[in-house]
Symmetry: C2
């Protein structure tokens, strides 16, 4: 038999999914459910904690427990990297990560820091550097309004960015066109990319930094960006609040028996 708290949680979840409790609406107070014979305070609390971990509700002291309203999902396709946007346009930076939402950039929606660090193993491997070699790490925390949505840390080889705006630790965007424009102006035009993604539970640090509600997973994205000759000019690691994003990729079905060498 399922535990008492699990049964209570399932009953409440059912009523939430049935629309009986609407997003933003209050659920019964813990003490009321105790009085209604659903169990002791700890038992009811356990049920609410489970619902919270399942992403259905949010509890807060003083306020109560409300049904979690679902945030609109931002769909990320490769068109966000369109050269026209950062090469020819006048758009401010972070286009790649923000243009999909159709929202304009606002000051304060991103913090940035640039540091020279010893390359972590994955970074060194991507750039073809010995472990511990020095690279520039440009870390951003991107927000939507006051709510953080993801972090993004780009790693560059010093010889690719030394002396550019990218390593000038001025707060704010990297300027017109963003990071790829800076690389372009410096003689490195990006040409092809690889994105690798996987989901996992956030670390406690990430929970704090991204202000994640309990139970929300993160998606980690690792992006390798190369020039036409195959040189890696950027390796970036992003950590995204899972409930805010979806990724989309279009491709042709490969045919190794007939394809010519890919360019």
């Amino acid at each position: 038999m399922a535990p008492k708290w699990r049964e209570l949680a399932d009953r409440l979840a059912e009523r939430i999914n049935a629309g009986e409790y609407k997003p933003g609406q209050q659920l019964p107070h813990i003490r009321d459910l105790v009085e209604a014979g659903e169990g002791s305070k700890s038992t009811v609390h356990a049920a609410y904690k489970a619902l919270e971990a399942e992403g259905l509700v949010t509890s807060s002291r003083g306020h109560g427990t409300v049904v979690r309203p679902q945030t609109p999902i931002k769909r990320l396709g490769i068109e966000r990297y369109d050269k026209a946007k950062w090469r020819d346009g006048d758009e401010v930076a972070f286009i790649a990560d923000r243009v999909a939402s159709g929202k304009a950039y606002r000051r304060g929606e991103q913090t940035q820091s640039v540091e020279r660090v010893a390359a972590p193993p994955a970074v060194a491997a991507a750039h073809g550097l010995p472990e511990g070699a020095e690279v520039y790490a440009r870390a951003r925390l991107v927000k939507e309004g006051s709510q953080p949505t993801h972090t993004l840390t780009s790693y560059y080889r010093p010889e690719h960015v030394e002396g550019t705006r990218l390593v000038d630790p001025t707060p704010g965007p990297a300027g017109r066109g963003g990071g790829y424009r800076v690389l372009y102006d410096n003689g490195y035009e990006i040409d092809h990319m690889r994105e690798e993604l996987f989901a996992r539970v956030p670390t406690p640090d990430e929970v704090k930094l991204l202000q994640l509600p309990p139970g929300e997973p993160v998606v980690e994205l690792r992006r390798t960006t190369r020039t036409a000759d195959g040189t890696v000019v950027e390796y970036a690691i992003g950590v995204h609040a899972a409930s805010r994003f979806a990724w989309s990729y279009d491709f042709k079905v490969p045919d190794s028996a007939r394809d010519e060498e890919r360019e």
Copy 2:
């Protein structure tokens, strides 16, 4: 100040990450920590539950609490759809989902059921059908050994698959070459695809079906497969245990100012 159970959990997490407790190794028993003055049984239990939700440990009655060994990750790239594999080869089915692991197919590693159902909204939209139209749903539960790794449900338009092996509800794979081979033999050669992915917390049903450890997220993948003329021949929804997979996509940086029409 952080709660007592959080502090205990953080201390233990630190020791796990430092390698002081190795994967598979037992953590101190709850009662021992109670005796050591870490708090009451409930408090220590709360700490262990947090560690479990964070994916660090696994607790089980009678056994104890051990550091969770990390399962090897299967990397999924688009080469798993290579036409040569299912068109020319002799490989058994499910290649697309299994070949990446380098492991051979074994009987009993997949269950299958085929049903004629009313199309759910997303399915109807993908196939360009009115909502509630009938489609074939071919549902698989894929396992690695005895452990389920993901579900995959493909939806087909009846006129594309009627009379083929695909809708023959024989248990086991769809036969030599799998589903795409059947469509190919029936005159529908797949040509291009779209994959959309996002992560979320599993439903209680999915936890049971996939035997997910507490706190493990899932990645939902929605795949639209088209023939060269753009006809959708398959729309599939997969639910993957997050800790077992990573997805990888290679693409050229788009350039809307210069690209010709894409083929």
